[in-house]
Amino acid sequence: MLGLRFKFRAVALKTLLFVSTGLIVIGFAPSGVSGATGDEFSIIASVQNQTLVDGSTSRTPVEGVTINVLKADGTPIGEAVTGKDGLCTISVPSRDDYVIELNLSTLPDGLTLIDAEKQKVAVNRDLFTTNTKRVTFFTGESANAGASASERILQRLSDGIRLGLIIAMCSVGLSLVFGTTGLTNFAHGEMVTFGGLVAFYFNVILEIPILISGPVVILMGGLFGLLLNWGIFARLTKRGVTLLSQLVVTVGLSLMLRNIYLFQFGGRTKQLSSYSKQVNLEIGPIGITPRDLTTAILGVIILVSVALFLQRSRLGKAIRAVSDNVQLASATGIDTRKVIKIVWFAGGALAATGGIFRGLDEQVSFSMGSDLLFLMFAGITLGGLGSAFGALIGGFFIGIFVEMSSLYFPSELKVAPALFILIVMLVVRPQGLLGKSQRVG
C-alpha cells in the first residue's frame, strides 16, 4: 500500500512536469515565434541613436545607413541600407567568421559612432547561437550634449525608480517563499520571464492590448506559482527532501524552464507591441514616455497595496506570522500549508507583473527574469531574507542604486555595485535592514 502510494506520487510528479512543460509548449506553439527560417544564416545590423540626455533607455533607429558585410579575409559578402526601423538584414552563406562594417559617410549629419573603434565588428562563427546574429551600432551626438550633471542625475533617478519598482515587485515572492518554507528559489527569475513571455504571446501574437490581457497574465503567473508548489516543492517537502537538495532542484528547474522558453521563443529579444513607440514627455529636466510614467504609477499602487495587504488584512498577518516562525504560527491555529499556497500564488502573480512591466520597459527575452535574479537577491539580502517589507524596500533601493551607479560606471558594468552592496551587507548586517537580529549561521 505504501509502495503504491509512493509510486503514485512519482507518477504524479512526472506527469506534472510534463503537463507544465506541455502547458507552456501549447501556450506558444501555434505562434511559431521562434523566428528561425530553416538553415539560412543572416546578419541583422541595427543602427540606433542613443540620446544621452534621456538616458540610455532612449534609443531611436537611424535610417539610411549603409552596412557592409565582409568575410574575415576581406571578401565582400553583401551590403544593405537600414530601413525606418534602423534594421537591415544581410544573408550570409554559412555559419562563419565575418566582419560587419558601418559606412561612416552614410551617417546622417551630426551623428557619429559613440565608440569609434566599433565601426567594424567582428562576428565569430560561435556567436551564431541561432541562425541570425544581431549586431548593433550605437550613434550619438557628441557625448553628453546639453545635459548638465543635475539633469543626468535626475534622469538616472527616474530610470532607477522604475527599475527599483520592478525589482521590488519581483522579489516579494522570492522573499516570502523563503520566509514561509525556507526555500531559496533560484527559479524565481523564470517566473518573471513567464509573465513577460505570456504577455508577449497575448499582446503580439493574439493582438490583445496589454491593459486587457495584463490581468489574465498576472492570474496565470499566480497559477504557475501554485503549480510549481503543488507539483514539485510541496511534494519534495512531504518526501522529506532537505532544503539544500530542494535548492539544487530549483537550479534544475530554472535551467529547464529557461530552455523551454528558449525553445519556444527563440534567442532574440522582442518588443511588446503596445505603446512601444512613444514620444518623451518632458517633465522638467526628465524625459519619460507616458508608458513609463503609467507603469511607474501602477507599480507604486501595486506595491503600496501589497504592503497594506500584508500589514492590515488577516491573511497578510497570517503570512507574516508564518514567515516569522512556522511552528509558532501553526500552534496558534494558522493553516500553514494554506498560507504557503497563497504565498506561491501571490509571489507568482507579482513576478508575472514584474515581467510585464520589465517587458514594457525594456524588451522581452527568454532570459529576462534570470538576468534580474541577482539584483533580486541583492535586494532581499539588503532588506532581510524572508521579510516582505525588506524585499520591497531593498529591491526598490537596489534598482535606484544600480541606475545611479551608471553615472560613474560604464553601463555594461552597472550591476557590479549591487554585488558590492550584497557583500558589504552580509559582512555588516547579514540579517538585512529589517531582519531580526538573530543567528543566521
Binding site: I260, F377, A418, V440
Partner: protein, 334 residues
C-alpha cells in the same frame, strides 16, 4: 540516419576534452559541495580564473605562458576570499547567492569594453598558447588512434595531458579525504557544531576547501582554453556551473569516481542526444501535420532542457547518483 557516426561521436565524447574539463571541474566542485557541503554556484568563475590567468600572460603582462598557473592561483584565492569571507559563517544558501552573483559579475568584467586591454572583451584572447603548442610531440595535422578512438595531433596532446591531470587530481582528492583534514571537512558537512565543539576552526576549514576546490576548477579552465587555443568569456557563463553540478550529481556526490564517471556519462548522454536530434532535423523540421515538433535551431535548447530535468529528477529520486552512499548524502541546509 548515420548510426555508426553517431555511435562513434558518442564513444569519443567519453574521452574528449569536454569530458576532461568537466571531470576536473567536478572534482573541484566535489571538494566544495560533495565533501564540505559548500554550495558553490560559481565554479565557472574559478575556471575563468585559470583561463584568464593563462590568457593574460600574453594579453596584458607579456610574460611566459607558465606564469599563468601562479597567476591563476592568485586569482582563485582573491575570488575565494571575496565570496568566502562574508558568507562562510552564514547559512549555506548565502554562499550560493553570492557565488552565482560573483560569477556573473566576473563574466561581465572580462567581456567589458572598459577592460578590453586586459581581458580582450567579448572576443577573448587568442595567440597565447604557442609555448604549449611547441611542446606537442604529435603532428597537429595528422590523426592518431584506432577504431572510434581517433584524435588529431592537435587535440591528442590536450587529451593526454588532461587525463593525466584528472588522474592526479582524483588521486589527490581521494588521499586528501582519507587524511585528518578530509575527516574534519566531512565532519563539517555532517554537523558543523560538533566539529566546532572539538576546537576546530570551521570557518578556516571551509575557506581552505573553497580555495582548494577553486584551484582544481581553475585547471579545468586551463585545459579548456589550451585546447581551444582561445579564452572566451562566454565559456564561463552561469549555466556551465549547473551542467558541471549535474554531471557531479549524476556520478555521485562525495565520491571521487563519481566526478570522473559523471562527467564522462554526462557527455556521452549529451552528445548522443545532440547527434540524434541534429540528424533528425538536418533535412528540415520534424513535423506532424502542420505542427512543428522541433527544428534544427532548437536542438541546443532541448538538450539543456533535459539537463535541467535530469538534475531535478536526480536530486529527487537518486540524490546519491551512481556511486554515492545515500546515508552519507543527507545534505542539510545549514
Amino acid at each position: 540516419m548515420d548510426w555508426s557516426q553517431i555511435i562513434q561521436n558518442t564513444i569519443l565524447a567519453a574521452l574528449g576534452v569536454d569530458a576532461i574539463y568537466f571531470a576536473i571541474a567536478a572534482l573541484g566542485l566535489n571538494v566544495q559541495f560533495g565533501y564540505t557541503g559548500l554550495v558553490n554556484f560559481g565554479q565557472a568563475a574559478f575556471m575563468a580564473c585559470g583561463s584568464y590567468g593563462l590568457g593574460m600572460t600574453a594579453q596584458y603582462f607579456g610574460i611566459g605562458l607558465w606564469w599563468g598557473i601562479p597567476l591563476g592561483i592568485v586569482f582563485v584565492i582573491i575570488l575565494a576570499l571575496i565570496v568566502g569571507i562574508p558568507t562562510l559563517r552564514l547559512r549555506a544558501d548565502y554562499l550560493a547567492i553570492v557565488t552565482i552573483a560573483v560569477a556573473e559579475i566576473v563574466r561581465l568584467f572580462v567581456r567589458s569594453v572598459k577592460f578590453n586591454y586586459m581581458f580582450g572583451g567579448t572576443e577573448g584572447i587568442s595567440n597565447f598558447s604557442r609555448d604549449y603548442r611547441e611542446l606537442n610531440p604529435f603532428d597537429p595535422g595528422a590523426t592518431y588512434g584506432f577504431g572510434p578512438f581517433t584524435f588529431s595531433g592537435y587535440t591528442l596532446i590536450t587529451v593526454l595531458v588532461g587525463w593525466v591531470l584528472v588522474g592526479v587530481f582524483a588521486l589527490f582528492v581521494w588521499q586528501l579525504m582519507r587524511s585528518p583534514w578530509g575527516r574534519v571537512i566531512k565532519g563539517i558537512r555532517e554537523d558543523e557544531d560538533a566539529v566546532r565543539s572539538l576546537g576546530k576552526n570551521v570557518y578556516f576549514y571551509k575557506l581552505q576547501s573553497l580555495i582548494l576546490g577553486g584551484i582544481i576548477g581553475m585547471f579545468a579552465g586551463m585545459v579548456l582554453s589550451l585546447d581551444r587555443g582561445s579564452v572566451q568569456p562566454d565559456n564561463y557563463s552561469r549555466d556551465v556551473t549547473f551542467y558541471i553540478l549535474t554531471a557531479l550529481v549524476l556520478g555521485g556526490l562525495a565520491k571521487v569516481a563519481g566526478s570522473v564517471v559523471g562527467a564522462m556519462l554526462f557527455w556521452v548522454i549529451f552528445v548522443f542526444s545532440d547527434n540524434v536530434l541534429r540528424e533528425i532535423t538536418r533535412t528540415g523540421p520534424l513535423r506532424i501535420g502542420d505542427f512543428t515538433i522541433i527544428q534544427s535551431t532548437q536542438v541546443g535548447a532541448v538538450n539543456y532542457m533535459f539537463v535541467g530535468l535530469g538534475l531535478m529528477l536526480l536530486m529527487t529520486y537518486r540524490p546519491q547518483g551512481l556511486f554515492g552512499n545515500k546515508t552519507e548524502m543527507a545534505l542539510d541546509g545549514r
